[in-house]
Amino acid sequence: MTLTSDTTTAADRVPAATAPSATTPSAFDFSGIAERAAETDATGLIPEQNWQDIRDSGYLRLFHSREIGGSGADPLTQTLAMEALARACPGTYWSATVSTLLCVKLIATYGDPVRHARLIGPLLSGERLACFAVVEATAGSDSGTFRTTVRPAGPDGDGFLITGEKSRITNAPTADLAVVLSRREKAPGDDGPDWCLAFVDLHQPGVERYEIPHMGLRGMPWGGIVLSDARVGADDVLPVPIEELSETMAWGWLKNSFAAIGVAEAALDASVRHARSRVSFGRPLAHMEGVQAQLAESRAQIDAARLLALRAAYERAAGRSARDLIAMVKVYSTEMAVQVAARAVQIHGASGVTKGHEVERLYRDAQMNVIGGFTSNRLREQVAEDLGLGPAVYHAFDWVAPTGLGHDPAGLDGLPRSGEAA
């Protein structure tokens, strides 16, 4: 990353003329999904009609080249569509986008367009749904502690067997296919990577799943998968150096960013509507500087997030990593949306914390985008590393005590008993 002004030539940049304002119309009409959002949250189930609307909209094909069955949309169209769906129903957006953006990118990047067309095709058509299984229940996101392992099926037959438990997975309860980050059981002499992605059919005996109830994004299926010698096809285990993976996982951070932008925009929109209609103590809310200030800050912050996210999307489309920009925008946009949603709750007062109210739901949803994917602090580490600061250096505590600041000071007349220390 450069710290000097951006010296890429104009042609590489987001065409400023097309940089969207809040009022830029989206060709995508997800109004039916929006109308069902409260119900989706209340029941914790995405209605089948949502999936039908998404299939009909062409959303699932936007992010991919025509070669693999996508529609090859430009980055502006992609991001407008993401924001429109996230704004309509963040839970539905997560479920669809994890499958078609993150999982298909993983399959297309590490797999083979021909051999894996049988997996990609149904995901882009919406006939099937995928999930990405990374984290393990006991460990959080520290891969050093992951235990799930793929081993050759050996005498038992063709292909591989996979065993382990993955947790905190979007779509785990409902997906047909899992992209699983797994260790490889390596035969002597195998000097390939220690890790692989395994594409696991979830409709088989060795697979059990469970749901995890969650605070926000309640329509989004979330849960764990227990794999007990589940079978994986010979073509469906792709060795991958784990360091490389964050490059593709950055698509997931971009997904979170637009989830946050959509949530924030929906919360701001609700606030504007409320301020325009509400009169308090004879004063229309819209005429009060305190309310105006909150709306204006939200407007500026959402736009800042959207423009940086869009720039990152253009960079990716131009074949550059932009991982640093995506990390920045993930951190900023998700934390920003929490703030914007909290402002919306304040502007709405008690109705904003009543179950079933749109901003009550958005407030719960907003925090999920911060937590999902890499956390803010882990991504800040990433940005810092990309600044050339080198990897994080761990020093075990205690660095305070040797400096004389590790215990309480004496009072005005010295230590209570002569000679006492620490």
Binding site: S5, D6, T7, A10, A16, A19, A300, W399
Partner: protein
């Protein structure tokens, strides 16, 4: 007009380099070395702008009138590079006031005669223009200059009053002044320095000290009909909204460059400083701060570039987007200066360090363009479809 390695056409196509680079490198070489000293002395050095006039004096003046013919987006980049290379907020403000705030309204609303009279000499740097920063937020502050008809036999006007906080005044050839009429309407005027009844006093804030500051006193100052810029009584529809948006966007450009310079200094300083016996940059919280600083630079850049590019689209720019960009960059500049100061340790207080000047000047910057009390209602009114 010399843009290195590039014709302006090529620059517009992005083929020949980036205006931010040209100005950054030139300002780093020519302006930065004396910035701390000029700041201490509160001194304007005319040789600096003279040397850089080809690059900085007339980017937005059309080539036919001797200007650089850059787009608004390119001009924004040019000023961003100026801030970064010069590390001099005051000098950058003086340049922006001349090249943008004073010049663009003449291009946009000037008669052919006004354009031909002022723009070529503005573009060459021969004539500098100046504007009161108390007149760049419409009439949010009460008007301090009054205009009345010059009386029988004249179609001119008489101006009375005073205007503070005029960036560039001591060295300017002409002033863009908005004056109020008794009926509440307001008109923009171009007032030449040698006009009888106009007095330029040296007076200015204790900030942006390398900018030449002054105060205009107009005492029965008679100006001809030709001094009117735009429609008489029409400033509220013409010059005022333009001047406000230009201030919000283009005086912010050098700050984006300054923020990058400060962030770079912070990275360097936090590698060198030791705390608890190890480099500051090993501490996770310091790394987080640096990540946040660089993020703010990129976030602010997106908003400002959008607002600048809207001037190029032939349609009317958005006051909401311009005001939002300013609202954001002011806060970003604060975060970056304070974050950088926190990581620079005692080095920040030598009296010569950029972060010291930037900390003082960022506070001043925050109050210009109307500050949040103007920006927020402008944004909110557009959002709420009020007014």
């Amino acid at each position: 007009m010399l843009y290195p390695n590039s014709t302006s056409d090529a620059a517009a196509r992005g083929a020949g380099g980036n205006p931010a680079e040209w100005s950054r490198d030139a300002a780093d070489r020519i302006v930065r070395p004396t910035a701390a000293e000029r700041d201490r002395a509160g001194r304007w050095d005319p040789a600096l702008l003279a040397e850089l006039a080809g690059l900085l004096a007339g980017p937005l003046v059309p080539p036919a009138l001797g200007g650089g013919g850059l787009s608004a987006a390119e001009t924004f980049a040019l000023l961003e590079g100026l801030g970064e290379g010069s590390q001099d907020p005051g000098f950058s403000l003086a340049v922006t006031t001349h090249a943008v705030l004073s010049t663009v309204p003449i291009r946009a609303f000037g008669t052919a005669g006004q354009r031909e009279r002022y723009l070529p000499r503005a573009a060459s740097g021969e004539w500098l223009g100046a504007v009161s920063l108390r007149q760049t937020q419409g009439a949010a502050l009460a008007p301090t200059v009054l205009a009345r008809p010059a009386g029988p036999g004249s179609r001119g006007w008489v101006l009375d009053g005073a205007a503070d906080l005029v960036a560039g005044a001591p060295v300017a050839h002409h002033f863009l002044v908005v004056a109020a009429h008794r009926d509440g309407g307001r008109t923009a005027f171009l007032v030449d320095r040698d006009r009888a009844g106009l007095l330029v006093e040296e007076a200015g804030p204790a900030a942006m000290r390398t900018c030449p500051w002054g105060r205009l006193v107009l005492d029965g100052c008679e100006v001809p009909e030709e001094a009117v810029l735009g429609t008489p009584g029409g400033a509220a529809d013409e010059v005022e909204p333009l001047l406000a948006a230009l201030d919000w966007v283009f005086t912010s450009a050098p700050w984006l460059g300054l923020m990058r310079a400060l962030t770079r200094d912070a990275v360097a300083d936090s590698r060198e400083q030791l705390l608890f016996g190890r480099p500051l940059v090993h501490a996770q919280s310091v790394r987080f701060t640096l990540a946040d600083l660089v993020s703010r630079c990129e976030l602010a850049a997106g908003l400002l570039r959008r607002a600048a590019a809207q001037f190029d689209e032939g349609s009317r720019p958005s006051r909401q987007d311009a005001a939002a960009a300013r609202l954001f960059v002011v806060e970003a500049a604060r975060l970056v200066t304070e974050g950088a100061a926190g990581l620079s340790g005692a080095a920040a207080f030598t009296g010569d360090h950029l972060v010291e000047r930037a900390h003082r000047d960022a506070l001043f910057f925050a109050g210009t363009g109307g500050g949040p009390e103007v920006l927020r209602p402008v944004i909110a009114a557009a959002l709420l479809e009020l007014g």
